[in-house]
Structures are given as structure tokens and as C-alpha cells.
Amino acid sequence: MPGSHGRRRWGAIAVVAVAAVLLSACGAGSRTPAATAAQVPCEFPAPPSEVNVNVLAYNSSAVDPFTNTMVKSCSRNGVTLNHEPIDYAGQQQKTIATLAGKYGTYDIVETYGFGIPQNAAVGKLVPLDDMLARYGQQFRLDELNPDMRRAMSYDGKLYGLPMQAQMYVMAYRKDVFDRLGLRPPRTFAELRSAAETIRRDGGIQYPLALPLLASSDIATAYDAALGSLGTDYVDRDTMRANFDTPAAAQAFEQLRSLMPVMDPQVTTFAQPAVQQQMYNGSAAIAIMFSGRMNDLTKPANSRFAGQFAFAPPPSVAGGPTLYNTLSVDGWSIPANTEVDPDLLFQMISASVGPEASKASVPGAFPARAGMVTPRSSPFAAAQLESIGKAPPAEPYPWSSRISTATTSVVADVVSGRTPIPEGTRKMQEIATEILAEYR
């Protein structure tokens, strides 16, 4: 029956072809799940020819809503937005590479306050002030938090449109705390004491979980501890590194004092590993960025989801500033993009609009005022208190360089391989060398 065989063959080819077309259509735009994407107005005049816009943004439950909303809503009028999944470390490296040359790969990059000055100081980002004035009313950009706008500015100019902020929040097992009569710790001493009480109770051997990955998170943790003690990496007035001050050593002592109540391999844990400890029930207290908290509340992730409660992080030594880091994320436009910056600005404005910001809660803490209220999520109250008591930002081009260059020393000191005086001396030398380039 050659006829029937041939028909079957053509039928199979047709099915494969349709499946291929459907699959390729699924692959267009963002390749991350678009469940968090809101459809928002993204109005712009059609460009004279087709335009491809490449977006660089790492994937997390806090950033995805903004990225996915932009890709979904602004891929129209002859414009296609492309976004490939990537992790935070990958984004960091690609940002350096794309901003370096005359031509870059990306047209919109996700940036954060700590990194803005280094790139803005050398003209690698487009200043947004003129466009902000032009489109501010259309996209209600005046409602963006002024502090967050400042965090994305350098030398008085805006280089990133803030989308959301992350601050440290403490998650704890309310059932365990209630059973042992514990209250959320407000200082590191109380934190140690609570963790030791939980351990003595049995069942949880390492009650405290912090992201202290030796290649990255540990530097943020040290900065948070130092900030809680009221000290910056670099003195703002004298431009001198502060690693030879008593606070620098005290920050190390305090972090090291927590090691006995944490997993011995804690210096290999990034935030997902800390989440995993909480999911498993192998830890009862965790301090990490607020963007990670929503995952804890999902029953699909953990049988303890209903038992997690949230509080602001403690302060290191009882002072008013908490063990905390305020990180503001936003969108920047590379100076080397070949796409019209005006068009790109309208897209990033749409992605931080009221609808998208509202849809991002509780995964994110949007930059728009009034979006997060104690009723909007179980950890909103903790976020609001935490953001108000965070150490001040250090918006200087040398800040992120010093942080990166001293990370391995911080890891050596916290893990006990290098004595504190030797570590702080090395850090002072590294920072002094970097600062000399800016004098």
C-alpha cells in the first residue's frame, strides 16, 4: 500500500513541522517562566526597521517579574526583546564584557547600586535624567522611591531606573521558637544564644544558616557586619580604608563567633543552599536577602512553609544599624548600545510601572512607594523595618573593586585559616592600592 504509506509519511512530517514551529514560538522572548509576567501598557512609536533588544538580567523570584513583564509587554511594533536565563555570577561577568568594547551584546542591563559608580564613572552607562524628564509623567516615574533613585545615581546623575530593593531579612521557625520560649534575636549575642538553645533541645544540630559562600556572599556578609558597627569600607572624608580600625576586627570576631552554630561547610553555601537548609528543617534561623523569602512561604518547597516567621536581622553589637545590606536593583542602558536609548528607556519605564510593581509583590520589594504594606506579605513588616535600619550605601567607584579584591581574604579569615590581624592588614594593603588609583 504505497499510497497509504506515503500519506502516513507526509502526515508525520506535517506533525513534526507544526511541533517545530510551536516549539520555536515558545522559545521566542524570555526563556524563563513567564508566570510572573504582567501585561502592562508599553507604548512607543514603531521604529523604522525591525529592532532586536537583548536584555541581561539574572533570574530570581525578585527580578523575574520585572524582566518577564518587559519582555512580554514590549515585544511589539516591530521590536523583539530577548532574554536568556542566567545566574547572578554570570550576569556580573557578562556585564563587564558587554560594557567594555565599542559594541556590546546587550541593550538593557540589570544593574545594582553597588556596581553603578564603577561603570558610570568611566562613561559606560547612559545618563537617564533627560529621558526621565521627558517620560516621567507618562510612566509615573515620580512615584519611584527617591532613596532608591539616589542609590542608582552617581555624581548627581541617574544611571539606573530602580525596580526593586533587597535587604536582609531573618526567617525563623516559629514552632521551634514558641516551643522553647524564644523571641526573635535583636543582637548577635541573642542570635548565638537562641541558636545554642535550639541545638541543646536536640534535633537541629546547626540551627543557624547564613549565605557565606567563600567566593562571593561572604564579602557581603562582612560588609553587613562592618556596616552594623557603624563603619564603612572606606572613610568618606579622608578616602582612607577602614580595615585597620577596631571595628574591622570586631566584625570578623562577631562573624566567627557564629561558626559553631552553623554547618561546618557554611563557607560553601550560597543563598539557595541556605534556603534548602530551611526547607529540610536542618536549620531554624536564616538571614538572607528578602528576595529569597517568598520561596520559603510556598508549601510546594517545604513542609515547614507554614511554620516560617520573619523579623528584621539583628544588629551585630546592639547599635541602631542592623546586620544588613541594602541592594537596589534597576535597569541601565549601556553607552555602547546601537538601539535608540529613548526607545529602551520607554521599555524599562514600562517594566517598573505601577502594574508590574504591584504584580512583583511579595517576591520583590518594588521601588514604587506604598506597594509593600504589612498586609501585602508575611515578611513585609520585617522588610520595612530592615530597610529603615540598613547601613548607608557606599556609592563610590572603588567600593565594588575593593569588595571583590578582598573577598578571598575575608573567606580565609572567617573560615579561620588566616588570623584576624593578618587578614585586616592584607585587606588594608589591597584597599590602599586600589584607592591610590583614584587619588
Binding site: T267, Q276, T404, S408
Partner: protein, 289 residues
């Protein structure tokens, strides 16, 4: 073959080799003598990058770790690959199925395989190996922060994904061993391991040399698996040379492409030194044949 035909056939390969091998090699050597940032022309430093690299104790530790890992893994690959190839060769109709299953670890991307491998040792993710070791020894092994357990884990993972390659090549080599030689050895009274050691192994010396060369080159360039298996590699002395290059060139402080290139040149020299005995052996064999 006419000269024009010869040139027509060879030139595409030459263009590809010049573009993908010679030009990057030239740039690496050039950058190794310069201070280079992304997107900026380099400034000549002379041998400054080499002096900096050679005076860094971290590079010494990375070389020691990488060479040690290479020696241990290549030895296991040659012995394990041979044993596995002999076992697979003796199979009947099940051979293609067993081969297919054995090749799974080879086709999985390194970083994915290493991540899955790490979960077997990570109590956060079930950690079956951790569990069994604790059950029998009563102690908790710190696979990710103690240097030697971590080295063992990295070596096991490397063997796990490279063994199928070694096995496959040796298996192909075994097909070329004349059955008459083996039979003659058996008639002469050779049995068991003596047949393998005195007859089969010498017959496939060239194949074993090839496996050694490829394996040495691969293990010397160890990088992917350390990302998943050794997050604290620099702190515990388990940083490979490639990871060290990545860390100094892109991560620690940002953009030291010149320094990274200098270490790359040193790595190329190290590979040449380590491979030279094998290359000489293969060349000698080729001349003799």
C-alpha cells in the same frame, strides 16, 4: 593529486586552524606581555605578568593540585578503562546496551554531571554517600571544605565522566588484537593476567598512549567540575590551573587578562612537557610501523 586540488582541499582546514588555533595563541602570547582590560588596547609590561604569576603561591598550589589530580585520574582511567573494555568485549548481545548505558556519564555536560554528583555527598540534598559513610564510620566527612575528601570527590567525578571515553577507545583497540597471537600465547601456557600483561597490552600500546595523551590534556584543563564540587577551592588548595586563570583574569579584582594569559602560556608549556614522553613514544611507533 594536482597542486591546485591539494590546495583547494587543504585551505579550508588551514583557514579554520589559523582562525581558531593560531590567532588565539598569538593573542594569548601577546597579552601575556601586556596589561589588558576589556575593550582597551594593552600596554606593554614585558615579563611582568610572568613574574607576578610565578611569585604567587596560589599558582604553585594550583599546579601541584592539577598535576596530582592528573596523575591519579589518568592512572585510574588506563587501568579501569582497560578492565571495563575487556569486560564489555566479553559480552554477547547485551554489548550495545551496556555500551550505551556506560556512555551516559560521558555525554552529560560536565557542570551538570558534577552538580548531580555533588548532591550524593551533600546532606542538604539527600547525600546518599554521606549517609552511608556516616553509618559505617560514625563520623561526618566534610566533603566540600576538607582538602583530601574534596580531592577524592573531584577525582571520583572526573573518573566517572571520563572512564567511558577511555573504555571506548581501548575497546576499539582490543578489536585490532589478532586472535591468533592470544591463542598462541594460551597454547604456550600463558593464562589469566599474563595474557593481558604480556600479549594484549603490548599490542595496544599505541591506543593506551593515545588515551593517556587525551586524558592528560583533559584533566590538566579541569575547570567545570570544580565549580560545583569545590566552591571553596582556593581556600583549601584545590584550585586547578584553569580555575586559577579564571579567578585571576575575571573574578578576583576583575579584568587581569594579561596575567591570565601569562598563566595560560605557562599551562601550555606544562602540557607540552607532560605529554612529550607519550608523543615521542607514539612518533617512534609510527616510524617503526
Amino acid at each position: 593529486m594536482r597542486r591546485r586540488e591539494y590546495l583547494g582541499l587543504v585551505s579550508p582546514s588551514l583557514v579554520v586552524m589559523l582562525g581558531l588555533l593560531v590567532f588565539p595563541l598569538y593573542k594569548t602570547v601577546e597579552w601575556s606581555l601586556q596589561r589588558v582590560n576589556y575593550g582597551e588596547p594593552g600596554t606593554f609590561l614585558g615579563l611582568g605578568n610572568y613574574a607576578e604569576a610565578l611569585s604567587d603561591p596560589r599558582l604553585g598550589a594550583a599546579v601541584l593540585f592539577t598535576v596530582g589530580l592528573t596523575a591519579a585520574v589518568v592512572a585510574v582511567l588506563l587501568v579501569g578503562g582497560y578492565v571495563l573494555a575487556v569486560l564489555v568485549d566479553s559480552l554477547g548481545r547485551a554489548k550495545p546496551w551496556v555500551l550505551g548505558i556506560l556512555l551516559v556519564s560521558y555525554v552529560i555536560p560536565n557542570v551538570v554531571g558534577a552538580t548531580m554528583f555533588s548532591w550524593m555527598f551533600d546532606s542538604n540534598f539527600g547525600g546518599i554517600v554521606n549517609h552511608i559513610v556516616s553509618l559505617f564510620t560514625g563520623t561526618e566527612v566534610l566533603w566540600f571544605t576538607d582538602p583530601w575528601p574534596n580531592r577524592l570527590m573531584v577525582a571520583l567525578d572526573t573518573v566517572w565522566f571520563m572512564l567511558p571515553f577511555a573504555m571506548l577507545v581501548i575497546l576499539a583497540g582490543l578489536q585490532g588484537v589478532p586472535s591468533e597471537i592470544v591463542e598462541a600465547a594460551r597454547i604456550d601456557g600463558a593464562t589469566g593476567w599474563r595474557v593481558h600483561w604480556h600479549v594484549i597490552v603490548p599490542s595496544i600500546r599505541g591506543v593506551l598512549g593515545f588515551v593517556a595523551i587525551i586524558s592528560i590534556m583533559d584533566v590538566l584543563r579541569t575547570y567545570d567540575q570544580l565549580v560545583a564540587l569545590s566552591p571553596q577551592a582556593p581556600q583549601i588548595g584545590n584550585e586547578s590551573i584553569m580555575l586559577y586563570i579564571f579567578n585571576v583574569a575575571f573574578q578576583d579584582g576583575g579584568q587581569q587578562l594579561g596575567l591570565g594569559s601569562a598563566v595560560n602560556v605557562l599551562l601550555i608549556l606544562l602540557i607540552v612537557v607532560l605529554l612529550s614522553p607519550f608523543i615521542r613514544g607514539i612518533a617512534k611507533e609510527a616510524r617503526q610501523s
